[in-house]
């Protein structure tokens, strides 16, 4: 290693000028296979006030558990129309909303017995806001998925904080999930160091 990674700086309040071109709140074309989910939530600060100048970026596998990326060499179908990328700005109430399909399971590290494991379905999330000097990284998992109990990343997090990574079902309309991102304080979302 001869160089050092460039230092992060905040996106500031005016990021929409440069980043809105790739705003994408519908990650999956109608033809994408899998279970459609509509996810909404808010980004909240340490005073539980909405963060109206934030952005969330999503990276996910398709419903087969395959990433649209050359380093995913799994023998699973790629869908041309499904890139797995989303970018949504929060509105004046700190709300974000997006629609996608529930991803399939992707490989995790080998288990203690040396056998391959699978991760539970999840979205990788970057949070960028004014006031954040670098991104926050978190994950969103799906409520009630039996694979959650054996997911190794959820296993890194103690209860009750583990629950901050799992979205909540909303009764109506069907397929809707609620997931808030709390930047600071009592119900602070779990964030990861990459």
């Amino acid at each position: 290693m001869t160089l050092q990674a460039t230092t992060w700086q905040t996106v500031g309040p005016f990021f929409s000028i440069g980043l809105s071109r790739l705003y994408r709140d519908n990650l999956a074309a109608p033809c994408a296979a899998g279970e459609r989910v509509n996810i909404s939530g808010r980004i909240l600060d340490g005073d539980a006030k909405p963060v109206p100048d934030g952005i969330i970026e999503i990276w996910q596998a398709n419903s087969y558990g395959k990433y649209a990326h050359p380093e995913d060499v799994q023998d699973k179908p790629i869908e041309k129309e499904f890139s797995g990328f989303g970018r949504i700005a929060t509105d004046i109430d700190g709300m974000f909303r997006f629609s996608t399909i529930k991803p399939g399971r992707v490989p995790g590290p080998d288990g203690p017995d040396g056998k391959p494991t699978l991760q539970a379905p999840h979205l990788a999330i970057s949070i960028l806001t004014r006031g954040l000097l670098r991104r926050l990284v978190t994950r969103m998992y799906f409520p009630g998925d039996p694979a959650n109990t054996e997911d190794f990343v959820l296993g890194l997090v103690e209860e009750p904080r583990r629950q901050t990574l799992i979205a909540k079902k909303i009764e109506a309309p069907q397929g809707s999930l609620d997931w808030n991102v709390v930047l600071q304080g009592a119900n602070e979302t779990v964030f990861f160091a990459l």
């Binding site: 160089l3 700086q9 500031g12 005016f14 380093e71 590290p109 296993g155 160091a193």
Partner: protein, 243 residues
């Protein structure tokens, strides 16, 4: 699944903390709990791929997006995107945004009493070439006041967003200009403890890319996390974190 080769973690002090009191807005938005160390998996070593279909070739010239030319000093901003082992990162999307030459952003929340320029949007993007090179034509952004503290001013800067090859390599940063007298007083620039690391955010004036009678050149290289040389042995199950 073959063992995963992760990306390197940043060296201590070379990245900003979340809480940096001189930057007042960080006070209520910085997490308090310790971040949880996440071993890289297939999720983190993959990431969105943006091909030429996402790119408008004209978008790298911010001085030709309108009928007339923007006011201000025309400049060339160019450099290379590399990893920490100096390997060029090709076909990587760079998005930029900036204030106009009067220090005003084309944004409804920018209340700075300085004129907008009908010929300048302040938004551009490009893909790096096969050697990781990029090049923008733009105008030098103005310094501007902000409400962080009384009489606070931002040093002139251009925001840059880069994806790189993986979710783990995502970077958003700001490029500054050499000799800007506001740099020592800019709390955002100064948020990073490591002096050498933050000084690398200052571009270099460059004769080689300066165009005679036309535009001054500034070079700004961007470095993204490099690859671990050996596969991750980090086996979370053996850490027994689930209790």
């Amino acid at each position: 699944m073959a063992a995963i080769k992760g990306y390197r973690r940043c060296a201590p002090g070379t990245q900003p903390p979340y809480l940096h009191p001189p930057y007042v807005s960080s006070a209520k938005r910085a997490p308090i709990a310790r971040l949880i160390h996440l071993p890289h998996t297939l999720t983190e070593i993959t990431g969105p791929v943006f091909g030429t279909e996402f790119c408008d070739v004209k978008a790298s010239d911010l001085t030709r997006q309108h009928v007339g030319e923007p006011l201000g000093e025309r400049i060339i901003v160019s450099g290379r995107v590399m990893d920490e082992d100096e390997r060029p990162l090709r076909d990587t999307l760079i998005e930029i945004w900036q204030a106009n030459s009067a220090g005003r952003y084309l944004h409804s929340n920018d209340q700075h009493n300085a004129p907008l320029d009908p010929n300048f949007t302040g938004c551009g993007h490009t893909l790096t070439d096969s050697e990781g090179r990029y090049r923008f034509v733009t105008i030098r952004p103005g310094e501007y006041p902000w409400t962080n503290t009384q009489n606070a001013w931002r040093a002139a800067h251009i925001h840059m967003s880069v994806f790189g090859p993986a979710f783990a390599t995502r970077l958003v940063t700001q490029m500054f200009f050499p000799g800007d007298p506001l740099i020592p007083f800019d709390p955002i620039f100064n948020c990073t403890a490591d002096e050498a690391a933050r000084n690398r955010l200052i571009s270099k004036f460059d004769w080689d890319t300066t165009i005679p009678l036309e535009a001054l050149g500034y070079r700004f290289d961007i470095v993204l996390s490099g690859r671990e040389s050996t596969p991750i042995e980090d086996n979370s199950h053996s850490h027994g974190a689930r209790k």
